[in-house]
């Protein structure tokens, strides 16, 4: 390993990167765009669902109920239905996601308390809508009967770490992992294959450069780029979405660094499989989907079937999501989260080992 050769490869990569405007723009553009998209668009706390109202009772209390439901802002009474068939038509056409049905014997049901006095029909083809409807189910109907009765709920939920239930608080830290997954894996896989595709490799392998120097020299600039991206997301997350970092900033960067190295080794590994830049891009996308879906970033790990959980344990993003949520939101330290770091370490060691065994300094 020669430091001179290594640094000359790093320098060359940086010079090439500086001239590659598109990649250069992507380094800052991808995190910014994704942060804004995910931060604003992903909001599981659904409000203002378009709904139809079918009031078959038509009493003063039923009208009051419909008005109160509207005030809760979960639904927006966009249509007034005349018959149950109207409701079915509106739902099927996708004009409403929910419908409030007040049965003709609403008053009697409310008094007797034996059958539910109110029915809410939801579009079950959208999971998020289903969840929103559950909020409506908790609506205190008894307060209609007796406005003074304040029923105490049986179970009190105390929300640690995100009491306002703001979605960006959950998504932004995890987003660091998603962005690093996309850029680090893709950039390295493509950068390494590019050398082969453009024919530079044939010249390089006829020089004293070793495979280690070449791989390391090409990958090191991306470590720095990854850290820049982490900073961009943290900064914008703080400024735009007021996402807190409760743990130590040093821990955040240390965890990110370990994850960057793991993602880079995945990129290096993919580059040994691909013959062209296009193939390496396809391979990279092939690994994105399981990482983003199974890591716990989008869907809770606890809800996944066993085999999916095993697969998730192999993926580096799963461990990083746990690390970053632990540090940024729960204020945990790296010492408490060491199993996740260890998992990332093992992942890196295995993939780098396999890759270096596969990089021959020969054409055959």
């Amino acid at each position: 390993m020669s430091l001179r050769r290594l640094s000359s490869i790093v320098l060359k990569e940086l010079r090439q990167l500086r001239r590659d405007r598109l990649t250069f723009a992507m380094i800052i553009g991808i995190p910014t765009m994704q942060l804004l998209l995910f931060g604003f668009a992903i909001n599981l706390d659904v409000r203002h669902l378009d709904a139809a109202v079918l009031d078959q009772a038509g009493t003063a209390r039923s009208r009051e109920l419909v008005a109160q439901l509207g005030n809760a802002q979960v639904i927006h009474a966009a249509y007034r239905a005349r018959t149950p068939a109207d409701v079915a038509d509106l739902l099927r056409a996708g004009k409403v996601s929910a419908a409030v049905v007040v049965p003709p014997d609403f008053e009697a049901r409310l008094e007797r308390g034996d059958r539910a006095p109110l029915q809410i029909v939801v579009d079950g083809s959208d999971q998020v809508v289903q969840q929103a409807a559950r909020q409506l189910a908790a609506f205190p109907l008894q307060s209609l009967k007796n406005p003074d009765a304040r029923a105490a709920p049986g179970v009190e939920i105390v929300n640690f770490y995100n009491p306002e239930r703001r979605a960006p608080v959950n998504t932004v830290p995890g987003l660091i992992g998603v962005i690093l997954t996309m850029t680090m894996v893709l950039f390295t896989a493509m950068a390494l294959v590019r050398e082969r595709e453009r024919g530079n490799m044939e010249m390089l392998i006829a020089t004293p450069v070793s495979p280690w120097e070449l791989t390391l020299g090409k990958v090191l600039p991306f470590v720095a780029i990854g850290l820049v991206q982490v900073s961009v997301v943290l900064l914008l997350g703080r400024l735009i979405f007021a996402v807190p970092i409760r743990g130590h900033l040093v821990d955040v960067y240390a965890a990110a660094l370990v994850f960057i190295v793991a993602s880079l080794s995945l990129g290096v590994f993919l580059s040994t499989l691909a013959r062209s830049q296009f193939q390496s891009m396809q391979l990279a996308f092939f690994t994105f989907l399981p990482q983003i879906l199974l890591s716990g970033f989008m869907f809770p790990y606890a809800g996944m079937p066993r085999p999916a959980q095993w697969l998730a344990e192999i993926l580096p993003l799963t461990h990083f999501i746990r690390l970053i949520r632990g540090i940024a939101l729960r204020g945990a330290g790296l010492a408490e989260l060491w199993p996740e770091l260890a998992a990332l370490g093992v992942f890196t060691a295995v993939l780098l080992g396999v890759s270096v065994a596969r990089v021959h300094k020969r054409l055959d």
Partner: protein, 316 residues
């Protein structure tokens, strides 16, 4: 050990890719400080042979000794002592001329202190000075080739491999390029150049002709011409195409080539002579003047590369 005056010694060099044998039992002796040519059509195994000699490709069989090193076992040691100019431009198109040379100096371990003077020297020799800040991708064919040569000799290799170096270059640049090659040979560098241009092959000190992976002839170009086993006749005929068709089937005729109004006939001396050619043409009603010609390298090449095909046809 190889004789000290031999830069390359290969015996029975073979390389198979699956069912295809790209190089088949090639023996080579390349003397030091000479320009040694590899002449052959595309697909004759020139590039594959060069790659094996550089240690970039593992031979399927045979022994190689380059600069006294056993290849492929000692290829890493060899890489410090050779230069390799690839067929396709393989420097970085998105780096400038200067940046490319600085990069190559570093990866070849040229001492930092010597790098600046060495690059200045190369810029001067290969007229790259004004192009220093230009991106390599924007250079012309001839400029790229000068840059590639400068890059290949930057670390003063003892042995330089050039794989079809002039394929994308105009005639003027080709002539200059060959002057550069002879200057390097004069300074003691051994050069192995592959080409499919006859005029370039003619300039080499020694030459090996490759055809379908086999070495079919080797020696000094003059010697190869003088030793040609076939005779050459020049047929001047009004109807040169008719003459060609008439002579095509004659036993002993190896090759026919029309050059302007003239027909160049390559034939086995013991089977055919000028009179036989004349008789055949007269019988077909073609009036022609026939004279002996002197074999050139193209005749050698045609004779060397066509013989196996003819033999195979005869056997079938």
């Amino acid at each position: 050990m190889a004789l000290p005056e031999l830069a390359i010694r290969a015996r029975g060099l073979t390389r198979r890719f699956g069912a295809v044998t790209a190089v088949d039992g090639v023996d080579l002796d390349v003397p030091r400080a000479q320009v040694y040519g590899f002449l052959g059509p595309n697909g004759s195994g020139k590039s594959t042979t060069i790659r094996m000699l550089c240690g970039l490709l593992t031979p399927s069989g045979g022994d190689i000794e380059v600069l006294g090193l056993r290849i492929p076992a000692q290829s890493e040691a060899l890489k410090r002592r050779i230069g390799y100019m690839t067929q396709k431009f393989s420097l970085y198109e998105d780096l400038t001329v200067g940046e490319n040379l600085e990069f190559l100096a570093a990866v070849h371990d040229v001492p930092r202190a010597a790098t600046r003077t060495r690059i200045a020297e190369l810029m001067d020799t290969y007229r790259l000075g004004e192009l220093r800040a230009q991106l390599a991708g924007t250079l012309s064919g001839g400029q790229k080739q000068r840059l590639a040569l400068a890059g290949a000799v930057l670390h003063r290799p003892e042995l330089l491999f050039l794989d079809e170096p002039t394929s994308a270059v105009d005639p003027q640049s080709r002539r200059e390029f060959w002057e550069s090659l002879f200057a390097l040979a004069d300074a003691g560098t051994t050069l192995l150049v592959s080409t499919h241009y006859m005029d370039e092959a003619e300039r080499c000190h020694r030459l090996a002709i490759l055809d379908r992976g086999r070495l079919v002839a080797d020696g000094a170009p003059r010697r190869l011409c003088a030793d040609l086993a076939y005779g050459v006749w020049l047929v001047q005929a009004e109807a040169a195409r008719a003459a060609q068709q008439t002579l095509a089937g004659l036993p002993g005729v190896v090759a026919l080539a029309q050059i302007g109004a003239e027909l160049r006939v390559l034939a086995q001396r013991d089977v055919v002579d000028g009179d036989a050619l004349g008789a055949r043409l007269a019988a077909a009603g073609v009036t022609a003047q026939i004279e002996r010609g002197t074999p050139n390298l193209e005749d050698v090449f045609v004779a060397a590369t066509q013989r196996p095909a003819r033999a195979a046809e005869a056997a079938a």
